[in-house]
């Protein structure tokens, strides 16, 4: 009713105003004018209406999308997007983690492991310098300058080597060693100068230098060696383990693709989509590649590495033990005490010394320690080496030589022990330093061979780590590339299906 009255009033209102359609004389033109006026009426909406319009737009967008998603092309697009995201996430993260591992492994090879080896050199050369210096006291005439200087020089080089790459936590240990070295050298030089003048106070200086070395420097160097060795072994274990998380990510991406395929089949009644197939194949290839590379890296870097690392560890430990036994031999002669177990060294057994003997007693020179234990440790290390050499196809002739030298040293040691306990010091002097099969000569030969063996095992260990590095060479790049190709394949594959709808 209202509409009629409105229309009627409008009719009468519009009769007077000529509109554009009037010119044509169209009988229905009044309808246009009706609607034109009604919109003109709401052309100036209130603020409430405006707010409603703005707020409603995203909801309208979402409703639009949601309604689009329920459509078939929308579902297909969503499948593609999800697959793309899964592929990229898995592929790129695998690529990134592979690259990080390579860098860390490289770091292990160029920094951490050489630091450990340098720490070993530092310990052994310092210990050797001390033995040479102390032993010179018993020998008449000119001391063995050259061998001592060489040992100190080697120690300096090793200390610099360690310092250049050492992480900050061990800086204090190294600084103890590094700052004591010039002091030690100065005291030894003073000792030698006094001895050259014929002053026996040189012996007291030498005892002071030896105590400095044995009680503060060598324990610090030993701790440094142990700390860096642990670091190497933990890093190596971590970096050659297979990457389970990235691999599972890749498998999840493949799973997403398979799910997508099945959904497509449900939607389009076509069993297999070429693009998706290609993408699945590429991802499978990527997974296989990563898996194979990780396996090869683990094989070289963990399994083979351990075959070489075990003898390296026992060889370095037994070399240090042997050095301490030799130091004990030399000092026993200097101090004219016997080598029986439990016999105390005069400079370290003073009662109530307090400040004199430090807490590093277990790293101090073993006093009359069981020599049999030392030879046993060395023999076991040589056995380990032989076993590893058999597996890794390395020449083991040097270890046979070492066994003979160990036997020679044991014999010389037994002679020395007998001479010392019998108080026969003239003969003891001879058997310790002068004769051809003296303890000094036989020990030096054994030490040189042990050094050679250690170097061989170290090279083997490093070559395995390098191999591990090489195995993971192209992984990062290849996985990234394959991921991108898979994404492209997915979109290419969905294109014909989409086109059916557009």
């Amino acid at each position: 009713m209202t509409g009629n009255r409105e229309a009627a009033s409008l009719y009468s209102a519009t009769r007077g105003t000529p509109g554009p359609a009037d010119e044509v004389g169209d009988a229905d033109a009044w309808v246009d004018r009706l609607f034109a006026d009604s919109t003109a009426q709401s052309a100036t909406p209130g603020w409430r209406e405006r707010l409603q319009a703005v707020a409603a737009r995203p909801w309208r967008g979402v409703r639009g999308l949601a309604s689009y998603a329920t459509t078939t092309p929308g579902t297909m697009l969503i499948i593609c997007v999800i697959s793309t995201l899964a592929i990229l996430a898995a592929g790129l993260s695998t690529a990134a983690s592979s690259r990080d591992r390579r860098e860390s492994l490289d770091q292990l090879l160029t920094a951490t492991e050489p630091t450990n080896s340098a720490a070993h050199d530092l310990y052994t050369s310092l210990s050797l310098a001390d033995v040479i210096a102390a032993g010179d006291v018993v020998k008449p005439g000119a001391p063995a300058e050259q061998r001592y200087e060489e040992a100190i020089d080697q120690a300096s080089i090793a200390a610099l080597d360690v310092a250049s790459r050492l992480p900050a936590d061990y800086a204090e240990l190294l600084s103890t060693v590094y700052r004591a070295m010039p002091e030690y050298a100065a005291i030894v030089a003073t000792a030698r100068a006094n001895l050259r003048h014929g002053y026996p106070v040189g012996v007291a200086y030498m005892a002071q230098a030896s105590a400095l070395m044995q009680e503060s420097v060598l324990p610090a160097a030993g701790e440094l060696f142990n700390a860096t060795r642990e670091r190497v072994s933990s890093e190596q274990a971590e970096l050659t383990r297979p990457q389970w998380v990235p691999l599972s990510g890749l498998l999840a991406a493949i799973g997403a693709l398979a799910l997508g395929q099945w959904w497509l089949w449900r939607l389009t009644k076509r069993r297999l989509n070429r693009g998706f197939l290609a993408a699945t194949a590429l991802m499978l290839l990527a997974t296989a590649w990563v898996g194979a590379a990780d396996f090869a890296a683990w094989r070289a870097g963990s399994v083979d590495y351990h075959v070489a690392a075990t003898p390296w560890e026992t060889l370095t430990t037994s070399r240090i033990v042997a050095q301490r036994a030799h130091t004990d031999e030399t000092l026993a002669l200097v101090e004219r005490r016997s080598l029986a177990p439990g016999e105390t060294s005069a400079t370290r057994a003073a009662p109530g010394t307090g400040a004199g003997t430090t807490a590093a007693d277990e790293s101090a020179v073993p006093r009359g320690e069981d020599f049999a234990a030392t030879t046993e440790a060395v023999a076991r290390a040589l056995d380990d080496f032989d076993r590893a050499a058999a597996v890794l196809n390395v020449d083991s002739s040097a270890s046979q030589v070492a066994r003979v030298q160990l036997e020679n040293w044991s014999q010389a040691h037994a002679e020395l022990a007998a001479a010392l306990s019998g108080g026969n010091f003239g003969y003891a002097d001879e058997v310790s330093a002068i004769s051809e099969v003296s303890t000094a000569a036989t020990y030096t030969a054994l030490d040189d061979t042990l050094a050679e063996l250690i170097s061989v095992t170290r090279d083997t260990m490093r070559s395995h780590l390098t191999e591990s590095l090489r195995a993971s060479r192209a992984v990062s790049l290849v996985v990234a590339l394959l991921s991108f190709l898979a994404v492209v394949a997915v979109w290419l594959g969905i294109r014909p299906r989409l086109q059916e709808y557009l």
Partner: protein
């Protein structure tokens, strides 16, 4: 002949002055940069070369930086800083005169007294490791030499017929009695002064040398503030504890360690008998004797106590008869001229007495 230092201070006065002040050590503490300086050896062949490392010797004050305390300056191995009171043996210095030795008896033979020595073929004598002039290893020949070494050889000549039939072991004052009791050495000739308490643990022969306590002081040391070095458990340390219980003391294991400490400025003075101090001073002309002699000591050959070893008493008698021979036929004078006459005044062998009741 060594001249006495022309100082008016008496030894006791110097020692008393040690306790008067409690000032920090004269040498500044520079613990962070140990520097070794070798003084140029120049034309004088006796110039020693010493490493001088300034350090903090004031025991109560902590080392400047804990990180450098190990290297601030290494004291001689086994040495400790403290006051004389805490480091001395705590024994009351027995003013009782020591008893005489055992008179030699005719007809004693080593083969009946100590057959194990004859079976072994050589005498084992404990001597000091590096006591210049008395017993030390001559660096140029590698052989042991010194007054006490030669004395041991002479005794071996009398006991075993051959001066070469002796082997030397290094001993320290603190463990002499143990080593004699355990039979590790047959005799100890290591400047052991005869005292009544020691006679409870070891037996002594007649003395072979007499010596008096002196103070050897480093160049440039402040006499009113000395850190005195002495061997742990020595009679000299007991004397110091008696006279100056609050004196700052560095107690070491050997007397040559004291010279090292002196040269490295860890100590300023050494208290000991002049026979030993002379040997130290001979290696460092920059040192000087200060004050007048204090107590007098007699050194004798130490042997096992009769309760620790069978036939110990008779062994003492044999050694005494050997020492009498050495005095009689001029050997003692010969040895003294060779080793000590350059540094100590000419003298006769020390007086001795035998026990009346045995």
């Amino acid at each position: 002949m060594r001249r006495l230092a022309p100082f008016a201070l008496s030894l006791a006065g110097v020692l008393a002055a040690c306790t008067a002040t409690d000032a920090p050590a004269p040498a500044p503490a520079d613990a962070t940069a140990p520097v070794a300086e070798a003084r140029p050896s120049g034309p004088d062949p006796t110039t020693p070369v010493a490493a001088s490392n300034p350090t903090a010797t004031d025991a109560p004050a902590p080392a400047p930086e804990s990180a450098t305390s190990v290297l601030a300056h290494p004291l001689p191995p086994g040495a400790t800083l403290g006051t004389a009171r805490e480091l001395a043996s705590g024994r009351e210095r027995n003013q009782q005169a020591p008893a005489g030795s055992l008179r030699p008896r005719a007809g004693l033979r080593l083969s009946t007294v100590a057959p194990e020595i004859v079976a072994r073929g050589y005498l084992v004598v404990g001597v000091d490791r590096s006591q210049n002039l008395l017993s030390y290893r001559d660096p140029t020949t590698g052989q042991l030499a010194g007054f006490e070494i030669d004395l041991a050889r002479e005794i071996a000549r009398d006991l075993l017929g051959d001066p070469a039939r002796v082997e030397f072991r290094f001993v320290r004052g603190a463990t002499n009695a143990e080593m004699l009791a355990r039979g590790e050495v047959d005799a100890v000739i290591q400047s052991v002064s005869v005292t009544a308490p020691r006679q409870d643990q070891m037996s002594f022969s007649i003395p072979y040398l007499e010596s008096s306590s002196r103070l050897l002081v480093a160049q440039g040391a402040q006499l009113n503030d000395l850190t005195v070095c002495a061997v742990r458990n020595s009679t000299s340390l007991d004397i110091l504890a008696e006279r100056a219980p609050d004196a700052r003391v560095l107690a070491t294991q050997y007397w040559s360690d004291c010279l090292v400490a002196l040269q490295q400025r860890s100590a300023d003075a050494i208290i000991n008998d002049d026979a030993i101090l002379t040997g130290l001073a001979a290696q460092d002309p920059t040192t000087r004797f200060v004050g007048e002699p204090l107590a007098t000591h007699r050194y004798a050959v130490a042997l096992a106590h009769p309760r620790d070893r069978d036939g110990a008493g008779d062994l003492v008698r044999l050694v005494n008869s050997s020492l009498e021979r050495i005095r009689r036929d001029g050997t003692w004078h010969r040895l003294y001229r060779r080793w000590l006459a350059d540094y100590l005044p000419a003298t006769e062998p020390p007086a001795y007495e035998y026990r009346v009741k045995e």
